[in-house]
Symmetry: C2
Subunit: 368 residues, 2 copies
């Protein structure tokens, strides 16, 4: 590597990721979809859900734990609902399919709810939620995730970081998109703070014995992430409710694995001994604006909401009040213009597994 930073154009990164997955036999459209979701994460400044995941997906495929030729199937449907079997493929494949189904249900019935079982990691939840926006619909996407979070009063990790994405159409303002893990801190961020020798803010982590801590290394020692809010005294039981709701909507309704049974999404963690359900679960909903009021009326009203919140007096004049998605829009514009910066260790780890699997390093990733 001839520099400590690897900068790549986002279209080139898409091509490189697509190449890797078509090489191992994935359908070209599916590979492009996987690449699109991962690159969208990089653009939005969420590298924990970007290129770094390719090695994880390859590792799962190598161990026969992931079906790269998955064909999602509708198991049951009604006027406004659907249940989809993800065929043990990547969540991008079933997620895109299921969100499209929710949108088409909403075209006809005003709203649509589709859940998915037998799936795997789907990348950023926001990718699916925003699909509804161009149809003048609210989009909602959720997934459960492998356990890292302790319910209030508990020692063990029994729930995932279970994100929620909610996208709302606008008229002239940028689209509203809230896309957030329902816990105070993501595992990736804890690891980063540890590498930097920093501590974690209070109310986010506890040791294996349930003692509150600011030491990021506890996650490697059976420590857990606390729910949003923190401990009981700081209303963390509300965060526990929220994470539990996502688990129920994504897994109990669909028949996927819930809570501590969610299969690991990295190959270095072994399969569990017992699975009460099928794979990992997702939830998607689309709500058509003009089923309620004329589309433009709702969109103009949302613009007013955004302008009103943005005009709030800030505590610090240099830090204006933001609308969810503001930072990500800024990062996307920056990354489209200046390229995406990839950490050397991400490239090194990827090359290692590509070599192991006899997959040629894509041209776009080889010139460093």
């Amino acid at each position: 590597m001839n520099s400590d930073k690897f900068i790549i154009n986002y279209n080139d990164l898409k091509i490189a990721i697509t190449d890797i997955f078509t090489t191992i036999g994935m359908d070209k459209n599916d590979a492009e979809l996987v690449a699109d979701v991962l690159v969208e994460a990089e653009l939005r400044g969420i590298p924990s859900h970007g290129l770094v995941r390719v090695k994880d997906y390859l590792g799962l495929w190598q161990k026969n734990r992931l079906n790269i030729n998955a064909k999602p199937k509708i198991i049951k449907e009604s006027l406004a609902t659907g249940l989809v079997d993800g065929d043990n493929g990547l969540g991008m494949i079933s997620g895109d399919f299921a969100m499209n189904l929710a949108i088409s249900k909403a075209q006809n019935a005003g709203c649509g709810v589709v859940v998915v079982n037998n799936s795997n990691h789907f990348g950023i939840a926001g990718y699916y939620a925003i699909k509804a926006v161009k149809h003048d619909m609210i989009g909602i996407a959720m997934t459960n995730a492998n356990p890292t979070v302790a319910p209030t009063f508990a020692k063990q990790a029994m729930l995932g970081t279970n994100p929620i994405a909610f996208a709302m159409p606008t008229k002239n303002e940028p689209m509203f998109l809230a896309d957030f893990a329902t816990v105070p801190i993501a595992r990736g961020k804890v690891e980063l703070l540890e590498k930097q020798g920093k501590t974690v803010p209070e109310g986010m982590l506890q040791t294996a014995d349930g003692i509150p801590t600011i030491d990021p290394s506890v996650l490697r020692k059976k420590g857990t992430i606390l729910p949003l809010g923190g401990d009981y005294e700081h209303a963390g039981y509300k965060g526990y409710c929220l994470t539990a709701i996502v688990d129920i909507l994504t897994a109990i309704l669909s028949g996927a694995n819930f809570g501590n049974f969610v299969p690991p999404q990295v190959s270095y963690l072994p399969e569990k001994d017992y699975y009460p359900g099928k794979g990992l679960g997702h939830f998607f909903a689309a709500i058509k604006l003009d089923a309620f009021r004329p589309t433009d009326e709702v969109k103009n009203y949302m613009d007013l909401w955004i302008r009103t919140m943005r005009a709030t007096t800030p505590i610090d004049p240099n830090q204006p009040v933001l609308i969810p998605n503001d930072p990500e829009v800024e990062k996307t514009n920056f990354h489209k213009k200046n390229g995406i910066s990839i950490l050397p260790e991400v490239i090194n780890e990827l090359n290692q597994i590509l070599n192991e699997l006899n997959i040629p390093v894509p041209d776009k990733l080889s010139n460093f």
Copy 2:
């Protein structure tokens, strides 16, 4: 008052509240519904949403700010959706109507989403969510509320405590019900801590200048409640997202007032100068289990979820891991058996307005 505690049977309390509202001309069924929602709050141990509200509703009616003969109307509907105008009545009237509509939509289409504008305070959100459960459906209820919460980085209160209730059917375990304001602490709880001379935990309040504080008196001095999580560093922007989502679903979709424009639900606060929408807004959804999988399969699976979470090793052996609704079920059983305890000041304030309005004190409330 002959004791410092007033204990009343919950059925007697229902009769007393019903009497008050029929006396001022409310339809008997509507009055019973209002009483049922308020008494349910008392039973569940949420007195801030119980009898204490009667004086507020009477005060709004006295000032012609509340229509006690409201007839909710369906403004628009599709196969799975509905928009309801609450006719400026209490939220119980339009809320019950709208949740029933969502349930009937879900019977036919698998899911139903109904939003309400031109409404007022609807009591506890959980009341509506659990209505879906006896139809073997998931029930969801949300409302916006008058502004007390500052968005991340903001000085002013621009959002309400905007609660979410989510109810999930079970087979043999008690129903799952999460019903929580999307902020770390309710206004009523802050007032109680102030009266007791106590402080508020960190990360819940800020002064009018946006300085973090544990002093509960700041809410009387233009201070604000922080989003769930606390300040930016503690991931309070996720709580801001959550509260914003509830505001958008309840008000932007329905055409109710949003954020700082939500009308005050107490008569001592003046009407606002300008309203961009109509009244206060609610959101209701029902999701029919057997649109996805056989009802019993889902309910048994939910039982397994509950038993699994309950079996988690607790940090303190004397404080087992709870399921949302556990404390409220215990309190309900206690209050049904031992009666509901009402604070003397609640009775005194109620009697004062009853006298002022020449409404006879109901028999059940007069013998103390």
